[in-house]
Amino acid sequence: MSVRVENLSVAYRSHRGDVTAVDDVSFALADGEIMGLAGESGSGKSTIGNALIYLDQRMKATGGTVTVDGRELPISDDRAMRPLRMTEVSLVPQYAMSALTPTRKIGKLITDLLKSHHVKDRDAVLTELRRRLALIGLTEEVLGKYSFELSGGMRQRVTIIMSTLLNPSLLIADEVTSALDVSTQRAVGEMLLEFRDRGYVKSAIAITHDLSILAQIADSIAIMYAGRLAERAPVATIVNEPLHPYTQALIASLPEVGVRHDQVTLTGIPGRPPSLVNPPAGCRFRDRCPFAFDKCLETPPFLQVRPGHSVACWKVSDSRAAVAGRPGQEQAV
């Protein structure tokens, strides 16, 4: 198992009190797996991404462990995490296009990066860099440019190259395709796949709200709702046979090319996600769920219902012979 997250909980401080943004989340990734972490705004998906690499002052991990390549990540210890960033775990943040310092040339940014990580054989790395740039159709000329001289999509891809230059075991890609045009989205998506195939990153977590992008690049998908995991399954299962009512509703609400309103009327999900300052008891999807019943006042456990497929829903686990196993034991398909 390349990456293992067990019972992770993250809270952040606000003057209204502590908000538990991530509540007891567990999942595992195999080597070479790209997992999509999907959810709407406020679901906690970005917080998980942050927790795995950099917890800022307002946030704190209130429980759980993260293990990468058999070694536990000291996520609460900023100092100890430093040498591991970019080498073990790397992040392509949201709005990566704005993440590049505009006052230095790209080439300089990269050499700074290498210096700060005490990379010994810089020349070898730079040769590799050129090779990777060529892979996405760029020449060395890019290194002499400032970030504002590049288009949004170009900056996004340069950022991905920088984040993966030191071959991290885990890449966290936070909404990397959101602000891009359709054609650039595809280019970036294919780039992630290519990098994974070539072993530049071992495994990746792609955080996004866009399920259709995940259908293209992910091997498995984990659906988050209000800080908890709702469902986790191989991508084909999530798309074709989702079990959790929330996942079902999400899939049903996605318009696809070829579908017109006079043929099919799509439906949304009424209501809003609950506030995490004072979350409701039991299943958090309860008051928007068409199948909710009285047992839902109790928090449903995240149980494996089939190999590789776990769901947190009473309706599902009651009506199936649920295999009560540790979620971490699922094999990625």
């Binding site: 003057h15 209204r16 002052q57 307002r58 079990l243 079902q248 809003r272 609950p274 506030s275 300052v277 004072n278 409701p280 309860r286 008051d287 769920c289 068409p290 199948f291 909710a292 019943f293 009285d294 006042l297 309706k315 599902v316 009506s319």
Partner: protein, 301 residues
Amino acid sequence: MSALPDTPTVTTVPVAPVTARKRSDFFYYGLRNKKLVFGLGLELLLVLLAIIGPMVAKYGPEAFTGAQLQHPGHTYWLGTDTLGHDIFSELVNGLRESYFVGALGAASASVVGMALGFAAGWRGGILDEVLQMVTNIIVMLPSLVLLVVIGSYLTSRSVLFEGVFIGLTTWPWVARAVRAQTFSLRSREFVEMAKLSGKRPVSIIVFDIAPNMASYLFLVIILLFGSSMLLAASYDFLGLGPTGTVSLGSMMNQAQNEAALLYHEWWWFIPPGAVLTAMVAALLVANVGLDEVFNPKLREQ
């Protein structure tokens, strides 16, 4: 999809009330900011002194009490000067004058600066170019020289004159700041919405743009107030202040002329300087604190 469900029973959960709002945020952080509390507190004390002082002072500021160069004591709380004026009385009256001129200068600079700044920021184009040119010219003018020249044509200078002069020479700074903010705010979507609602430009500036700059404007005006007072004191110190009135600057001017420093008459030149420093410094400290309150990123958690 799975089998049809039973009749669902959905229990509604009350959503947690959104309690925190901008105003309560402001007071919460405001009262906890040491700089703001200290600065405002000190300033308020001085203002109180300016208001109550002249009522309490035993003598008028211009009165010849007869006793010259008395050390501070029972009769003369801060002593007297070479002409027998009661220093304490001069001080508190001078404080009033300084506040008055400061306020007048800040007010006139604000009015002119904001009007022109909004106009230029909103319209852009030629109006903006012209304003920039005018601003640059005024900024470059040596105001001291101008004051001397104008002053030489006047038989007497009033407090009003000094205040307005300061206002007319410092408005460019306000105008620039307002223009820049207006520029960035006018392309915001809620401004477009206001346009799409058929509102006129003046209405949009007053009700949509200005309130969103309120915290910034507040800071600008506070700084302007401080610099006006300082500027007035400098003019007074050089003898270019209003004729016939006592102010902190004029006190220091007289002390200087009579070589108070040389004669160790500390009660004459230290109080006005100290009070002036306190007035301006308190404002600046409060300003920094206020900036921290308005801008959450500056707050140390």
